[in-house]
């Protein structure tokens, strides 16, 4: 119950931030512009709209996740409101989980708005929406899973570092997470057994965001295979437990002066 209360307050606090509206507005603008980009190309109008639209949702969602996520804990410390919260019967675990879920709710609402804009653009281009267009919701679901992990990473860094450094670290980890497949190939190609093992350990312990990228696939109206639905859902869930555990362990040990 206390977690839900903190989550709701975090959500209300997040939606008050102007940067959120700016980012959503930019995303919607870009999704609308995808219609224009499509019209100056040949034969790939819908592919461009879908690719650019879903990429906009992903990129702007990422920006929202990082820029609001890193403020979650650090702002409470900076404004010293953390003393008021923790002096009440609220445990640190509840505080972290509540903050995290609040931001997740914010992201969910924003993604829903951007998805609505995306489908509106699709409707404008095609003149009608068909059942096959539901496949794009699968990509949006994967984007949400990815964003949930990014917020988790942002929360972890927010517990240990300054906001600026947290932004940099979260973004770097996101980039690394998108190249982890290359890390694995590098490990396989190398002749050094030690280096190969290190690459394997990194491959399995760093977040693998490549799993969630199905934008090109759905742009070609290909169905998302069931193993990806199940695999990605469990992967994100386990990784979130890992991230939350790390955040809680750090936050439990942190002293506020």
């Amino acid at each position: 119950m206390r977690v839900a209360t903190i989550a709701l307050h975090t959500f209300k606090e997040s939606v008050r931030q102007k940067v959120l509206y700016n980012l959503v507005a930019f995303a919607l603008l870009l999704i609308g512009a995808a219609i224009l980009f499509g019209s100056i190309s040949v034969g790939v109008e819908q592919i461009i709209l879908v690719t650019l639209g879903l990429t906009s949702i992903s990129v702007f969602g990422l920006l929202i996740a990082i820029f609001i996520g890193i403020d979650l804990v650090s702002k409470e410390i900076e404004r010293r409101t953390i003393y008021n919260i923790l002096s009440k019967p609220v445990s640190r675990v509840e505080f972290i989980l509540g903050k995290y879920l609040g931001l997740l709710l914010t992201l969910f609402v924003n993604t829903a708005v951007m998805t609505a804009g995306f489908y509106a653009a699709l409707f404008y281009q095609k003149g009608a929406l068909v059942r096959g267009d539901l496949v794009f919701l699968g990509a949006v679901y994967f984007i949400l899973l990815e964003l949930a992990m990014v917020v988790g990473i942002a929360v972890v860094f927010s517990c240990i570092s300054t906001p600026v450094l947290s932004v940099v670290c979260t973004f770097c980890l996101y980039v690394i997470g998108n190249f982890s497949a290359d890390l694995r190939v590098f490990g396989q190609e190398t002749q050094n057994a030690l280096l190969g093992t290190v690459c394997d350990i990194l491959y399995y312990s760093l977040p693998n965001f490549g799993n969630f990228n199905v934008i090109s696939q759905v742009a070609h109206a290909e169905k998302i295979p069931s193993y990806l639905w199940v695999g990605n859902s469990f992967y994100a869930l386990l990784y979130l437990v890992v991230l939350m555990s790390i955040a809680i362990l750090i936050f439990e040990e942190r002293e506020f002066r």
């Binding site: 070609h220 193993y227 386990l238 890992v242 555990s245 362990l249």
Partner: protein, 300 residues
């Protein structure tokens, strides 16, 4: 002196739970990731699409950053080609168009013409197996960079190696030799290709040129291996001639190469370029020794 010992604080039950959860979930990620990897490897990739097929269009919209964009596209070419090679793919659909865009954006990006033509011309699966496309790319490069003689050299190589069109190769080498700064051997090469039409000497000449020029140790080693094979093949041909001479003069075939030394046809037992003595097999043919590092298969 007093000794003080500070013991680490006991972890709280909540922290223990967190540690256990963390480790269990990290371990749980491994089978999930493995399953995704194994299934995804079997999935057929989505159709390849070039969203903006015109380099000219991109140039207009690059806001003056066409050089940077060309670099990005060239990197994309390399990544595309590398990915296809790693996947042992035989389809290189986007290679030509990507190279076209790169060179449209920066017509002076010589590396894109030179390496791009190799990517295009090499036989499948080493390359795209499109030598004609490679020639089109190089000709566009020559139009944009008329003084750069190396592009003519590349044209000549493609005609020589991939298309086996020796007169066209000779014309390309000759055209290149007339450009400012061209190496002297370009004219020699043109003459040899024109005169001999792909004979042993010409091949040797090309490989020795590569062996001298190559900055990469592996390429140099490959060229040297070819040169050793040429030398061994020449030696074997000469030894076969001497054996035939021995047979006609002595009225019997030589039982070993030592017989040629004893009869005064050779000063010493002949050795191949790797230093291993040649052998005479029971059928009377000269062959390489079992320890020889010369690979005659390179010439096939």
């Amino acid at each position: 002196m007093t000794l003080s010992s500070a013991s680490a604080p006991e972890p709280k039950p909540r922290q223990r739970v967190c540690w256990v959860l963390l480790l269990l979930c990290l371990l749980g990620l491994i089978p999930i990731q493995r399953r995704i990897d194994s299934r995804r490897a079997n999935d057929t990739g989505a159709a390849e699409v070039l969203f903006l097929p015109s380099g000219e269009f991109l140039r207009q919209f690059s806001l003056g950053y066409e050089g940077l964009l060309a670099d990005i596209y060239w990197t994309r070419v390399v990544q595309y080609f590398g990915r296809k090679r790693l996947a042992h793919s035989t389809e290189f659909t986007l290679l030509g168009p990507l190279l076209q865009i790169t060179t449209d954006l920066d017509p002076h990006l010589l590396v894109a013409y030179r390496f791009g033509s190799i990517f295009l011309a090499d036989k499948v699966p080493q390359g795209a197996g499109q030598p004609q496309e490679a020639l089109v790319l190089l000709r566009r490069g020559i139009v944009a960079n008329p003084d750069y003689w190396r592009l003519w050299e590349d044209v000549g190589f493609i005609y020589y190696w991939d298309l086996k069109d020796y007169p066209a190769a000779a014309r390309a080498f000759l055209a290149g030799s007339e450009r400012p700064g061209a190496m002297d051997w370009m004219r020699v090469l043109a003459a040899r290709v024109a005169a001999q039409g792909g004979q042993l000497d010409t091949s040797k000449f090309l490989w020795s040129e590569i062996a001298h020029q190559a900055g990469n140790a592996q390429i140099r080693k490959n060229a040297e291996d070819h040169l050793m094979a040429f030398k061994a093949e020449e030696d074997i041909a000469k030894l076969d001639e001497l054996l035939a001479l021995f047979n006609s003069r002595q009225g019997r075939p030589a039982r070993s190469l030592q017989a040629l030394v004893v009869a005064g046809y050779l000063r010493s037992l002949p050795r191949d370029p790797s230093g291993v003595p040649y052998l005479l097999d029971p059928s009377g043919r000269v062959r390489l020794g079992p320890r020889s590092s010369v690979d005659l298969g390179l010439l096939e």
